[in-house]
Amino acid sequence: MSLSQQIAQFLASGMINGTIYALLALGLVAIHSVTRVVNVAQGEFAAFGALLAVSLVAAGLPVPASLLGAVAAAGLLGGVIHRVAIRPARDATPLVLLIITIAVHLALKGLLLLLWGTNPYLLQPFTAGPPIRVLSAALTRQSLWVIGVTAVALIILYLFFTQTIRGKSLRACAVNPTAARLVGIRVDWMGTLAWTIAGGLGGLAGVLITPLTLATYDMGLILGLKGFVGAVVVGMASYPWTVVACILFGMVEALGTGLISSNYRDAIAFGVLIVVLLWRAMATLRLGWIVSEEVAQE
C-alpha cells in the first residue's frame, strides 16, 4: 500500500472514531449546558449500552430490538443518575458536582464489572459483507452504519431542538435557567431530560462501536474523555461544531497513531487535549477576560 493510500485509510478510520466521539461529546455538551456539570461518567453509558446489547442478543432477542433496547436503557440510566446523584446536590458547587460524577463513574464501572466481568465481548456487524472501497480507502460495512446512524441521530436531535417545544425549552434552560423557570419551564426535569438524551447518545455510541472493537467494562473512561476533547475545542457550546471538531480530532488521532505507533494512541489523543486547552487559554488572553458574560450579568 502506498503512503497516500495509507493516509487515506487512516483518515477514513479516524473519521469513524471521530463520529463515535461526537456522540459522546454531544451528550457532554447537553449535560453541561443544562446542568453545568462536566460528566466524567459519560463514557460509562457507552460501555453499558454495548454490554447490554451483547447480552440481549445472546439472550435470543432480535438484533434491532436488542440494539434499540440497549440504547433506551442507557438513556434511562442517564435520567436515573440525574435524579439520584446529581439533582439532590444541585445547590452544591461545581466542584462537588464534578466529584460526584467521578464517584458515579467509579460506581458504574464497578457495577459493569460485577455484571459482565473482565472478559471482552463481541457484537456481530449489523450487516455482513466485504468492505466497500471509497476512493482509495476500504470501509467496513459497520463503518457505514456508524456514519449513517449518527447522521440520522443528528437530524433527529436537530429537529428536536428546533421544532419541538420541549427541545426549545431545553435550549432556554441552557441559556438562562432563571428566566426559563419564570416562564414556567420545569428546569429540574429539563436537567433529567438532558441526562437522558446524553445517556441515550452514549449508549448509541457503545452499540455502534462494539462490532468494530470489543466491548469491555472499562472501555468508558477513555471514550468519554475523547468526546470531551472534541467538545472542549469549541468550548462546550455549539452542537454542530462539536461534531465537526470531534471528527477532525478522530482524524488527527488516527493519523498520529498510524504514522508513529499504535502504542502511543492515547498519548497522542490526550496530547491533543492539552494542546487544545493551551490554545483556548491563549485565545482567552487575546479576546478578553475570563469572566463569562453570564457571571458578570448576575
Binding site: V38, V40, A85, P88, A89, A92, T93, P94, L95, V96, L98, I99, I100, I102, A103, V104, H105, L106, A107, L108, K109, G110, L111, L113, L114, G117, T118, I222, L225, F228, V229, V232, S261, N263, Y264, D266, A267, A269, F270, G271, L273, I274, L277, L278, R280, A281, M282, T284, L285, L287, G288, W289, I290, V291, S292, E293, V295, A296, Q297, E298
Partner: protein, 601 residues
C-alpha cells in the same frame, strides 16, 4: 491547648509504632500511609483551599519517581540531588500545564490532568530505553547523605513521617498567610478577588505546582525506599484513589488528608483479604473501585466536610477553619494609618475618561456610545431605569467585561484591555450590586484580603510562617477600615452571616482597604433602611473628603441629587444627559425617560 497535646500524643505514637509492629502487620503499610499522605496533603491544599481538583497527582508522583530513579541510576547523581531534581521537575511540569489551563475558568483542570496522567502512563511504558518499559528499573540506590546510607524500613518510616509532619506544618502556615487568604478569596469568588488586585491564575498555578512538588517528593522517596520502579502505581486509577483519600478525610482539612489516607489504605488491605472469599479470586483487586466509588459518592453527598471534622470534634480540637485571633485594636481610632492615595494634581484633573464605549451582548447593545469624564475628587453618579446599562458600564470600567469598542483612560493610561486585577492595581476598587463577600471567611479577613497588594508575604514566606508580624499590622489596619463603616464589633463573625446591609458596608470597607484612587459603588443604597441610607451618604462624603473619587450607580434619584457633584443619565444603553444635579433635573429627556414621553412633550 488540647490541640498541642493531641499533636504531641500523635508524635509519640508515631515514634513508638515501629517498636510495636510485629508479626503479620508490617511496617510497610505505615510507610505507604505516610507516602500517600504527602501526596494527599498537596491535593487537599489544591482542592480544599484553591478549589481546583487534579486527577493527575499520580502522574506527578510518577514523574518524581522516574526522575530520581533515572538520574541516580543512569547518570550516577547522588540520591539527594535526584530527589531535589524530582521535586523541581514535578513542580515545573505542573506549572507549565497549569498556568495556561487556569486562564480558562471552569473545571478544565480535572480533565486536563486526567488526560495528562494517561499521556505520562503511556510514555513511561513505551520509552523503554529510558524507563525500562513495563518491567521498570531495578538497582536504584538507597538515599544517602554523604557516607550515611538511609536503609531499612525503620529509617524510611521515620524519614517519611517527619516529612509528613513538615508538609502539614508548611501547609498550615500557608493557609493562615496572605497567600492562603488570597486562595480562599479566589475559591469564594474569582471576580471579587480579581477586583481586589489578586490574579487568580497566578495563585492557582503556583499552588498546583506546590501540590505536584509534594507528589514528586513522595515518588522520589518511594523509589529509593523500594530500590526499583515500574509504571503500574502511577496510572490514573491511583489519582482517583488520592482524590477519594482527600475527600474522605475532609477536603478542607490538612490533617484530614492523613486520616483519609490511613482509613483508605487500611480499608484496601482489608478488602484485599476478604474480597476473594466473597467474590472469588478473579480480578478481586478491581472490585475495590465499587467500594471506593460508593464511598466517594456517600462522603460527598452525605458528609461533604469528611470524617476529620467529626474526628476533631471527638478529640475536642476546637480550631475551626475560621481560626481566631486575640483582641483587635484599630491602628488609629479615627482614620486608617496611611491616607488613601492623593494624586498630586489640582482638583480639576480628569481621573477617569470613557470614550465612545460600546458593549454588545449578541443582538443587544447594552451600552452604546458612552463618553464621560470623572474629575479627581468628585462624587459622580450614573442613574437610569432598569436595563439602562449602568452595571454593564461598571463592569467595563473594572475590567470584568471587555468593551466591544471604545476606550477607558485612567490617569492618562488606557486601561481598556487590562485584566481586572491590573486595573485594581492602578487604583480602581468596586463593590457589587449583589454583595460578593467571601462568606466562609471572617469579616476581618475579608478586609485583610483588600490589603493584599500592600502586603508582601509570598509562598515561601507564608509556608515558613514569616508573615505573622506583617499580619498583625494588617489586622489592625483592617480593623480601622471596619471601624470606619461601623463593623468593628463584628470583625470575628463569618462574613456570610452578616445581614445584607452590613455585607454592603463590608464590601465598601474591603474596597477602601485597597487604597483606591477611584471607588465604584454599584447601587450602594439598595436594600438599606432610611437611617442606613443617611449613614451611607455621610460615609460616601467622608470617603470623598479622604481623597477618593467616587463613581456610583444608583436607583434612588433623591439620594443621588443630594450627594453627587455631577450626574450622568443612561437610558437603554444611551447617555441622555450629563451635568450638575440641577441641570439634569431640568433636562426634558430625563423627565421623559423617568416619567414617560407624554409628560415631557
Amino acid at each position: 491547648m488540647t490541640q498541642r497535646l493531641w499533636l504531641l500524643g500523635f508524635i509519640v505514637v508515631l515514634i513508638i509504632t515501629p517498636a510495636l509492629v510485629t508479626g503479620r502487620v508490617s511496617l510497610g503499610i505505615f510507610i505507604f500511609i505516610g507516602l500517600f499522605s504527602l501526596i494527599a496533603i498537596g491535593l487537599t491544599l489544591l482542592a480544599g483551599h484553591a478549589g481546583q481538583v487534579s486527577l493527575g497527582q499520580a502522574a506527578f508522583y510518577g514523574i518524581g519517581a522516574y526522575i530520581s530513579a533515572i538520574t541516580t541510576l543512569r547518570l550516577g547523581l547522588p540520591p539527594v540531588l535526584g530527589v531535589m531534581l524530582a521535586v523541581t521537575g514535578a513542580a515545573l511540569t505542573a506549572y507549565v500545564i497549569g498556568a495556561p489551563i487556569f486562564l480558562l475558568r471552569g473545571h478544565f483542570l480535572v480533565l486536563g490532568t486526567l488526560g495528562f496522567n494517561i499521556v505520562v502512563d503511556v510514555v513511561i511504558r513505551n520509552v523503554q530505553g529510558l524507563t525500562g518499559g513495563p518491567t521498570g528499573l531495578t538497582g536504584i540506590p538507597p538515599l544517602s547523605v554523604g557516607r550515611a546510607i538511609i536503609a531499612g524500613d525503620r529509617a524510611y518510616y521515620y524519614l517519611i513521617w517527619a516529612l509528613v509532619l513538615l508538609t502539614l506544618w508548611l501547609g498550615r502556615n500557608l493557609i493562615d498567610s496572605r497567600i492562603g487568604r488570597a486562595l480562599a478569596a479566589i475559591r469564594s469568588s474569582e471576580v471579587a478577588a480579581a477586583t481586589l488586585g489578586i490574579n487568580p491564575a497566578f495563585y492557582k498555578a503556583r499552588i498546583f505546582a506546590l501540590s505536584a512538588a509534594f507528589a514528586g517528593l513522595a515518588g522520589a522517596i518511594y523509589v529509593h525506599y523500594l530500590g526499583f520502579v515500574s509504571p503500574s502505581p502511577f496510572a490514573f486509577n491511583f489519582s482517583i484513589d488520592l482524590l477519594v483519600m482527600s475527600a474522605l478525610g475532609g477536603i478542607a482539612y490538612l490533617p484530614g488528608a492523613v486520616l483519609g489516607t490511613a482509613v483508605l489504605t487500611v480499608l484496601r488491605e482489608v478488602l484485599r483479604t476478604i474480597m476473594p472469599h466473597l467474590l472469588g479470586t478473579g480480578a478481586s483487586a478491581e472490585y475495590e473501585i465499587i467500594v471506593f466509588g460508593l464511598l466517594l459518592a456517600v462522603v460527598v453527598v452525605v458528609a461533604p466536610a469528611g470524617i476529620w471534622r467529626a474526628f476533631a470534634a471527638f478529640l475536642r480540637i476546637d480550631r475551626g477553619p475560621l481560626g481566631s485571633r486575640g483582641t483587635l485594636k484599630p491602628t488609629n481610632s479615627s482614620s486608617p494609618s496611611s491616607p488613601p492615595r492623593r494624586e498630586g494634581k489640582g482638583p480639576s484633573t480628569v481621573l477617569l475618561k470613557a470614550d465612545e464605549l460600546q458593549k454588545r451582548f449578541g443582538g443587544l447593545l447594552a451600552v452604546r456610545g458612552l463618553s464621560f469624564e470623572v474629575k479627581q475628587g468628585d462624587i459622580y453618579a450614573m442613574i437610569g431605569p432598569n436595563g439602562a446599562g449602568k452595571t454593564t458600564a461598571f463592569n467595563l470600567i473594572s475590567g470584568v467585561l471587555r468593551p466591544t469598542s471604545g476606550a477607558i483612560v485612567l490617569k492618562g493610561h488606557t486601561i481598556t484591555h487590562l485584566q481586572p486585577y491590573a486595573i485594581a492595581a492602578l487604583g480602581v476598587a468596586r463593590t457589587f450590586q449583589t454583595p460578593r463577600v467571601f462568606g466562609e471567611l471572617t469579616v476581618l479577613h475579608n478586609v485583610m484580603i483588600g490589603l493584599h497588594r500592600s502586603l508582601r508575604t509570598g509562598f515561601l514566606g507564608g509556608m515558613l510562617g514569616l508573615g505573622r508580624r506583617e499580619d498583625v499590622h494588617a489586622a489592625a489596619e483592617a480593623a480601622s477600615y471596619l471601624e470606619r463603616v461601623g463593623l468593628l464589633d463584628r470583625a470575628m463573625d463569618r462574613a456570610g452571616a452578616l445581614p445584607f446591609g452590613a455585607q454592603r458596608l463590608l464590601e465598601v470597607s474591603r474596597a477602601l482597604a485597597t487604597r483606591p484612587a477611584l471607588l465604584l459603588l454599584d447601587e450602594p443604597a439598595s436594600g438599606l433602611s432610611t437611617t442606613e441610607r443617611g449613614e451611607l451618604v455621610r460615609l460616601i462624603r467622608e470617603i470623598r473628603d479622604g481623597g477618593v473619587t467616587v463613581l456610583l450607580v444608583e436607583h434612588d434619584v433623591s439620594l443621588v441629587m443630594g450627594l453627587a457633584d455631577r450626574v450622568l443619565v443612561l437610558n437603554y444603553g444611551e447617555q441622555i444627559a450629563e451635568g450638575t444635579p440641577a441641570q439634569v433635573r431640568a433636562d426634558p429627556r430625563v423627565i421623559g425617560a423617568y416619567l414617560g414621553d407624554e409628560v415631557a412633550s
